[in-house]
């Protein structure tokens, strides 16, 4: 499926996190590739290092922590860890974008959603004047916000959780990034809303040929969405493989135990 050089190539990534009182090696020697247009899933429990890995690619750290990264994160052949903050700032949003778990706290509550998308467009693209807002409305339309021209002037609290997540996705895809990192994008949402957001991510990925890095604790979420899966446990990738093989014939004991813990619901006849 992937021809030539990978879009993203992470080699021997180690992340040490210094909190107020201790240093934790949250990610240890993680290596993986993401080909152009490919979708890769990371599955693991909270604390396994999957979110730290995702943030590391963006060179972001969780609030109140100090992260030290070692190894290589090659994006289109350039090591992101050697870039200056300024260069990295240009990379973020423009070439690599991220969608977080919590759509409530990721939006600015006092700005209209239109203005928030405008901001991103002005910062990262050559658009100016009316073209900016027009593009923002297009983006809202693309992520399925109904009546986008009018809703662009609403504030985040006027939207439901699912729609806020759509808006965050609109912001993330504003500059046509090559890689979209989605960190538990549906965890805070209801199951029917989750189903809609997954469909949206799927559609956008296909339309735009983006690569997708999907971080989740739920094997069900990655199942239909990605080609490759990495299972993380205690900061390391314990199993990796294509999604069909890994889910039907898990090799590592940890993967087996995780899959066994997923409560089964009868699915026969449930496909609508």
């Amino acid at each position: 499926m992937s021809a030539g050089t990978p879009l993203l190539s992470v080699r021997d990534l180690t992340a040490r996190i210094a909190t107020h009182h201790e240093i934790v090696e949250a990610v240890r020697g993680v290596s993986f590739d993401v080909a152009p247009g490919e979708a890769v899933g990371f599955v693991g429990e909270s604390g396994c290092g999957k979110s730290v890995t995702a943030r590391a690619i963006m060179r972001l750290a969780a609030e109140g922590t100090d992260v030290r990264l070692d190894g290589k994160i090659l994006f289109k052949g350039r090591d992101l860890l050697t870039l200056s903050d300024r260069e990295m700032g240009k990379m973020r949003g423009r070439q690599i974008a991220m969608v977080f778990q919590d759509p409530m706290t990721s939006l600015n509550p006092v700005m209209t959603v239109g203005a928030q998308i405008d901001d991103v467009l002005r910062r990262h693209t050559d658009l100016y004047g009316r073209a900016v807002r027009a593009r923002s409305i297009e983006l809202l339309d693309a992520v399925g916000v109904p009546d986008p021209a009018r809703r662009a002037d609403d504030h985040p609290h006027q939207f439901s959780g699912g729609q806020r997540q759509r808006i965050l996705i609109a912001i993330a895809i504003a500059c046509d990034p090559d890689l979209l990192i989605a960190d538990e994008p549906t965890t805070a949402l209801d199951v029917t809303v989750q189903a809609q957001i997954l469909r949206l991510l799927m559609r956008l990925r296909e339309e735009r040929g983006m690569s997708l890095l999907l971080i989740t604790h739920d094997f069900g979420v990655v199942a239909g969405m990605v080609e490759k899966v990495n299972v993380m446990y205690r900061g390391e990738i314990v199993e990796t493989g294509d999604v069909d093989t890994l889910l039907s014939k898990p090799q590592h004991e940890y993967t087996k135990s995780l899959l066994a813990a997923v409560p089964r619901i009868r699915v026969a006849g449930a496909i609508s």
Partner: protein, 290 residues
């Protein structure tokens, strides 16, 4: 849905020692505590450490600082250092008792108001609003002028004046903490109101109250000395900082130390509590992280 946002594996105990917390950034708190200790020690030991009788004329008037009188003498030849220490005792005593009273009253009113809500809250807060609407100083002058400038009157006045502020500081967090899960859990267990307030709410709201109390102490020192300066403080000849300032201001050019000494003491005491408040704010915020 996972409520755990930080993806960090907890290793070992996450409890921190007090020493670690202090190292973790509270230089301010240490400085504040040190200053407070100096003040408390001088106040408590005042009768034994004053070099001379603070009310007796024992030297040349307005003599500059010298070996005999470290801070010189005032207009009728009293030792300024002795008066400063002894006056501090009066000032700090008034401040301490008054703020303690305001704290107790504010806690009771704030807890009642915040916890019970509804009509009780409305009534208490409207009454306090009336007191709060007056400028602190004006109200204090009016009450002391009406009741007479004795130490108990001064204490009661200041307590009344600062009660609304304390009550507000308590009420705010109570309003939010009473909706927290562990309070609802206590209620669902069948825990009574008194116990919910004392055990499940009060310890949580204590931090902002402690900080506010320290700030109020700083303000109160200022108010007490200002009232004394205006002649509404403890009656002479007992020394107090505000009174010392008032007596000396006409000799400011002749003997600057007569003004600098009490003014410095006032600044020191006020700064102590402001620094302490900021140190505590930093320190308590860290330790109240949930």
């Amino acid at each position: 849905m996972s409520l755990v946002n930080d993806d960090i594996a907890p290793v070992g105990s996450t409890r921190r020692s007090w020493r670690a917390q202090l190292r973790g950034g509270s230089v301010l708190l240490c400085v504040g505590l040190l200053m407070l200790a100096i003040m408390i020690v001088t106040t408590v030991l005042a009768p034994w450490i004053v070099p001379y009788d603070p009310s007796a004329s024992i030297g040349m008037p307005l003599s500059p600082p010298n070996a005999e009188h470290l801070l010189g003498t005032d207009v009728i030849g009293r030792d300024i250092l002795s008066r400063l220490i002894s006056g501090g005792r009066t000032t700090l005593l008034i401040t301490g008792i008054a703020v303690s009273l305001a704290l107790v009253a504010g806690l009771i009113l704030g807890l009642l108001s915040g916890y019970l809500g509804g009509i009780v809250d409305e009534t208490i807060m409207r009454i306090l609003d009336v007191v709060f609407a007056f400028p602190v100083f004006l109200l204090a002058i009016a009450v002391v002028a009406a009741l007479g400038p004795t130490i108990p009157n001064l204490i009661i006045t200041i307590a009344i004046v600062y009660t609304p502020a304390m009550a507000r500081v308590v009420r705010g967090p109570v309003l939010s903490v009473k909706q927290w899960d562990h309070v609802e859990a206590a209620r669902s267990i069948g825990v009574g109101d008194v116990r919910i307030v004392s055990r499940h709410i009060l310890p949580i709201v204590a931090s902002p109250v402690v900080v506010e109390t320290s700030l109020t102490l700083a303000q109160t020192i200022f108010t007490v000395t200002a009232l004394s300066f205006l002649g509404l403080g403890p009656p002479p000849p007992d020394p107090n900082w505000g009174g010392m300032l008032a007596e000396s201001r006409q000799f400011m050019e002749l003997a600057p130390i007569t003004v600098i000494a009490p003014a410095g003491a006032i600044v020191f005491a006020t700064m102590t509590f402001i620094i302490l408040a900021n140190g505590l704010r930093e320190f308590l915020n860290v330790s109240t992280r949930r």
